[in-house]
Symmetry: C2
Subunit: 325 residues, 2 copies
């Protein structure tokens, strides 16, 4: 395992580099997220949060399905549209309430398979698909899904609050398989019963309500290190991470493992005194959780392996999302 090559491969991974366009778009949108006084969190978190005024926050997220995934396996794309949205709410410590979708149909067969996947995802995660919009006869097949959830204002988990000295916990369900039609997906849910899958989502709510972490994110398209990088960037901090402490299913070699989108996987910034309880809650729902490193003031993400240490991201000079640029 060559750490240099691994770092290069992560930096150039499409799941990471695709995030670069966000800052340009946000500069066009200006302060349109702050138009009303209700906005509590907007860009840079897994879900936006809107004040409901009773100590509760409404969580709101949207995810589109990558066209490559849609082509590779429409059923799985539909299923994933639920999974990724539910995980966005879970990552904030919230309870998912309902979803809506916009479906553009080029060919019906593809889109019906997509919707079968949506139906099965909704069943598995226990979150209803309550409405949406349909475009028949478009020049493309596109599914976008949006979700709402709810969380208490005093316990919401955000991406931007990692504190120097916090321990970094990475938690991943290792009981999975690389999806046969989409090699970036680590499927941990289709072979599990609903009870366990839903318990994984609820575990996040428990961690939130017990205030065990200062920050957290679900591991998504940018993979494990890319997602951690986004949390560090949002928190204006750095980290040192020991590669071989990251939970891994050993059937998958490191370079691929770190790029996978796991069915259930999270990164946390956790005060030392809360680490034990946090890991215990995660372990109970089949999430293998380890302390992999620590938050540091130096705004770089270092990856250590044996006696070597390399900088993956230097946030003084580069960005993943670029919200602060």
């Amino acid at each position: 395992m060559d750490l240099n090559n691994l770092v290069k491969s992560i930096k150039n991974f499409e799941g990471v580099t695709r995030k670069k366009s966000i800052s340009k778009l946000l500069s066009i949108l200006g302060n349109s997220d702050k138009i009303s006084g209700h906005t509590y969190l907007s860009y840079g978190d897994d879900a936006a949060a809107i004040k409901l005024g009773n100590g509760k926050l409404l969580l709101l997220a949207a995810d589109g399905i990558w066209d490559k995934l849609m082509k590779a396996d429409p059923y799985w794309a539909g299923y994933c549209s639920v999974l990724v949205n539910v995980n966005d709410i879970a990552a904030m410590g919230g309870e998912p309430l309902a979803m809506v979708n916009v479906l553009s149909i080029k060919d019906e067969n593809t889109c019906f398979k997509v919707m079968e996947g949506v139906r099965e995802g909704a069943k598995k995660f226990g979150v209803p698909m309550v409405g949406g919009h349909l475009h028949p006869a478009t020049p493309y097949n596109v599914l976008d899904v949006s979700i709402v959830g709810i969380v208490s204002e005093d316990s919401v988990i955000t991406s931007h609050n990692a504190k120097i000295g916090d321990k970094i916990i990475i938690a991943i369900d290792l009981d999975g398989n690389i999806h046969p039609n989409f090699p970036l997906a680590w499927d941990t849910t289709t072979h599990k019963n609903s009870k366990l899958v839903r318990a994984q989502i609820k575990a996040m709510k428990k961690i939130a309500s017990k205030k065990l972490v200062n920050a957290g994110k679900d591991i998504s398209n940018p993979g494990t290190i890319g997602t951690l990088g986004m949390m560090l960037e949002a928190s204006n901090t750095g980290a040192i991470v020991e590669l071989d402490k990251i939970p891994r299913n050993e059937s998958v070699e490191w370079e691929r493992w770190l790029k996978l989108y796991p069915g259930s996987g999270f990164v946390f910034s956790c005060p030392e005194e809360c680490v034990e309880e946090c890991i215990e809650i995660l372990s109970k729902v089949n999430l293998t959780a380890n302390v992999v490193g620590e938050i540091i003031p130096d705004r770089k993400l270092y990856l250590k392996y044996k006696n070597t240490k390399k900088i993956v991201f230097d946030f003084r000079k580069e960005y993943i999302v670029g919200l602060r640029s």
Copy 2:
């Protein structure tokens, strides 16, 4: 004006016929809208409604921008993505809270124009765009927007509660222009100040909280008669409508007028004793509102002009959306 031709033209209008695919999709989704006990309203209304448990309903809607509109004028498409979503919440008597978007980018210039439109729409309607998801380098330019709003459970306006004997009110802002790049859009908002545009949205909340109507919808892609048809279909009723009572800007001939998507336009099913107050509220915000007909038990939508009466939709034999089929 030939009533026969007008009726044919409305029935064959793409804005109406495009709704036919919905029922097939819903049959695939099965009861996935009922998975949790929180769902109060799902398909068939302008927005879904989720019980928050404190007498409040969370409203949730999603709209995609028709690819034809996206090609015709990306800025206007972005602006409309806000307008149509805000109107979906207004139609339920709700207060819009926030929006998220999913943007797929083929070419950046187009998409930046789209987002400029989104920004201006958010400003005009006073609803923040708080987050979303971005797909760079897709084979298509697609924008989907989703919105949340809030309304009291005891005052929500739905599509399915029109009562026999109710008067049908159609309310349209006549101060507008056909959009130069998209002849199906009746733009009533870009030339108006925010105050009036937002007051039109708030008027709907007032009508809801005073419980002045039994059902209502915003006039959208299916046009005035198509939208009324959807309300009748959802309510399992029919109606007789007198064409020349429908508010119209006389610079536009009937066939085109009835297919337009107005910036602010609504159909209502209103008990006779509430008609006056309802029209007064609407008039104050520049919505020209007339009683155009009445709800009848016979499940047909009749259009009358002078001495002729024609059936536009016979819901015993045909459907627009087909939720009940």
